[in-house]
Structure formats: C-alpha cells, structure tokens
Symmetry: none
Subunit: 131 residues, 4 copies
DNA sequence: GTGGTCTAGACCACT
DNA sequence: GTGGTCTAGACCACC
C-alpha cells in the first residue's frame, strides 16, 4: 500500500513529532512492513509542504529508536522489529506523557471517570484501525 | 499541614508548569484546602531556588484558571472550586496530552490493556489521597 | 489591512492589557480575521517601543483565552472563535469592571439613563465597525 | 440611621476602594446626609477588622473629591453636596471603567445585548435601593 | 510585608 | 527567523 500522511501546521504539536507519530502508527497498523522503503526526505518534505530539515529530524529520531534504518545511498527503510526497550525503560518513557495527561485533567477539572472514558475511546479507535 | 514541593531544573517540563502541577495535585489530594494560604512568591522561590518571577507566573496561571486567588497584600489562597471551562474547551485542551500518551505507548509497544492499567493506577493514587 | 496600534505608557492600565484590548477590538471589528497573522513579538515590541516580554505576555494571555493561537516557528495567528468559559465564569469575570463602572458613575453623579447611553454608544461603535 | 458597612477581604477590589464605594452608596441612598458624622478612622477600622491606614486612605480620597470634609479635632462629616466635576470631567472619569467593561466583555465573548442587560440589572438594583 | 508590572538580556526548540 | 522559558533587578500599589 502507498504511504500517505498529513500533518497539521495549525497545531500545537511540533511537526517532526507528528511525522514520527504517523510513521509509528503506519508500522503498527501494518501499512508499513519490515523492509519497506519510506519516501526520501526531500520527497516527503515536498508532499507535506514542510522544511526538509523537519522530515530529516523525524527520520533521525526514528532511526535512533530502532524503527527505521538508513542504507547508505539507497534511502530509509522500516527496520526489523526488535525489542528496543526493557519494561523498566518503557515505564520510564511513558511516565512523562502520563503525568502530563493526569495533571492537565486535574487542572481542567476533568473527572477520573471521564478521563478513563477518553483514553478508552482513543485506544479503541487505534485497535479497530489496525484490525 | 505544611506545604512541601520540589522541582527538577534539568527536566523537560518548564519549572512554572511543575509548580502548577504540584499545587494542583496538593489541592486535589486535600493537602491544600479551600482558603488555605500558599507560600509567598518570594518564599517559595527561595525554597525552590528559582527566580520569583517563575513562581509568580505559576501562581498567575493558577489564579487565571480558578484554582487560586490573590488577596491584596495578604498573599495567595486556594479558591473555591468551580467549573471554569466549557465541556468542549476541556476536551479540546486535554486532546494534546492524550494524543502524546497514546502515541508514546504505541511507539514503545505498550498494549492497550497495560496502558489502561497505568492510567488507573495514577488516578487511583490521587483519589485515595483525596479520601 | 495593516495592523496598527498605540499604547500609552503613562496610563493606569498595564501595557500588556492595553495590547490585549487593542487586539480584541481589532478581532471583534473585523480588522483581524480568523487565520490572520499578527506582528511578531519582536516586531510589535519595536513598533510600540516596549519590551518584547510585555508583548509576549499579551499574546500568551490571548492564546490562553482562545483569541489567538501560535504556530511553531511561524508566528501568532487569529484563532477560530469559540466559547471558552462557562456562563457562570463569564458573569463572574465581568462582575468587577461592572461594579467599577456603576460605582464611578454613582460617585460622579451620572444618571442611570445617561450611563446606559454611554454604554450603548461604545457598543454601537464596535458593532458598526464589525459590519 | 446607623451607618453599617461590610468589606470582603477575599475579593479582588482594594479595600480602600470598597470603603469609598460603600460611603458613596450610603450618601446616594440618603443613609448618610449632609452634616452627618462618620465613624472615626480607628472605630471604622475596628468594625471592619482592617488596618486603620486603609480607612484613612478611603476618607482622604473622599475628602479630596468633595464628598466628605474633616473638621479639626471633631471628626469627618458628609460635606455639603456641590457640583465638583464638569460634564467633560465626568465623561473623562467614567471613560476608563467604561473601556474596561467593554473590553473585558469582548475578551470573554459576552454579547452586546447580554452586557446591556447586566448593566440594567445593576442600575435597577441601585435605584430601588435608593428609592 | 504582599503580589503585579516592566525592563534587559540570555538560552532553547522549532521551522 | 519564530515563540517559550528563565534570570536579575527595578518600581509600584496595597495592607
């Protein structure tokens, strides 16, 4: 399947992060499989109408974290899926966004039950998307 | 009860946000109750070894959002709890940290069930703190 | 249309509030429309001969209250109009300036009918400005 | 009639201003008439549980503006009602709270009709109070 | 004493 | 280039 993506420039999330997240989702959903080639930095930058540096940064992050791998002169590919993080490391890295979520909910006066509902909703959407 | 707090300067989260979060948690947990006085801007700044402006900013944010209220020349106090934002606005503002959480979980290979468990755990800790 | 503004430093109202008010008026009058870009923090600071932090503060306030929105590295833009505060909170926040107005009128010996006329006049000027 | 008054310490309005406003209202409503003696600074300060300096400041403001007059060694009295401000001066002095009201309404998204209603409501309350 | 405002100048992340 | 954060130090109003 062709790899499609959109980023929203009128959003608070940094674009390089949005790209990273879209790639992760595509890998998770199976739209991108091990060994698949991604669009070149310049091609994707053109597609998304963003600065090539921004795409390069996203690819670099994903490469560092073992999701992608660059092959000299050939482009960037989906890496072989391998366990990168230990359980402790996973917990450590989920900590910050988890705190941010709970704190923002407190700040806004969102009730625990409502927050659980919102989390379920997002997760459900991903699960059915990835089948 | 005495009000204690720590911030980490070498962290990703801005200091004024850390202060904001700690105060929110204390209010939610019941350590700070309606009408309680907070440390003065200068006192807390000295405690935390940060610039008074940084503390003032956190207090200003909390005041604007209805958590605290200032009384002329007397200090800053915990305000009466009240709904400030419309439901749509609350959902809008929780959206970004929620996305960040789900994306990071995806990236790390955390299963939906595990994520729900982690959220429950944090919320539970707060709830039992507040009795 | 070009965006013009003046602030008076020798006035009772804080500068960041004057900036906030001028932007609100421009948005309400239609001089600034959804999606329009505002002068950069530094540019406006130079125009007004004030410190950039002061402009940044005004922009931050307007962003928090849903009038503006920042886009990473691109500047600050007029946000889509939306209700942010609950009705009770709006009434709460208008209460103080309303009291100030009525008390000052009382003090000056302005008749209720005259005061109503003055309020109408200001509101009318804004309405015709916004078409 | 005895002169009664209350100030709210948990409020944003400076206390000396609250005192000034209460005295103005009492004069306007006829509860305090020309020549009536006001409580001494110390007595009123004790009544209101505020600092005597704060009461002194309010009395000074009211004396400067022609509402009260001090008689050496005898206390402070309601002055003979006389026109103090020209029409132009009245308009000038009402300008700032009027702007503050309209700007805050804009900022909060309050509609002109709603604002007119709120002004009417406050004025109506005063009129029936003063008979 | 308290908080609120403003200035000056630095550093960082993002594009 | 953009805005966001932090520091340092000043001045003001209020109590």
């Amino acid at each position: 399947m062709a790899f499609r993506m959109r980023v929203s420039t009128g959003s608070a999330a940094p674009i390089h992060r949005q790209i990273r997240d879209r790639v992760c989702e595509a890998v998770h959903a199976g739209d991108l499989q091990e060994g698949d080639r991604l669009p070149s930095v310049r091609a994707l930058a053109e597609m998304l109408v963003v600065n090539p540096n921004t795409v390069a940064r996203a690819y670099a992050d994903l490469t560092r974290d073992g999701v992608l791998e660059g092959r000299q002169g050939k482009g960037v590919f989906v890496a072989r899926r391998r366990p990168v993080y230990t359980k402790a490391e996973r917990l450590r890295r989920i900590g910050e966004p988890l705190d941010a979520l709970v704190n923002e909910a407190l700040f806004l006066g969102i009730e625990p039950a409502e927050l659980r509902g919102l989390v379920d909703e997002r997760l459900g959407r991903l699960e059915e998307g990835g089948r």
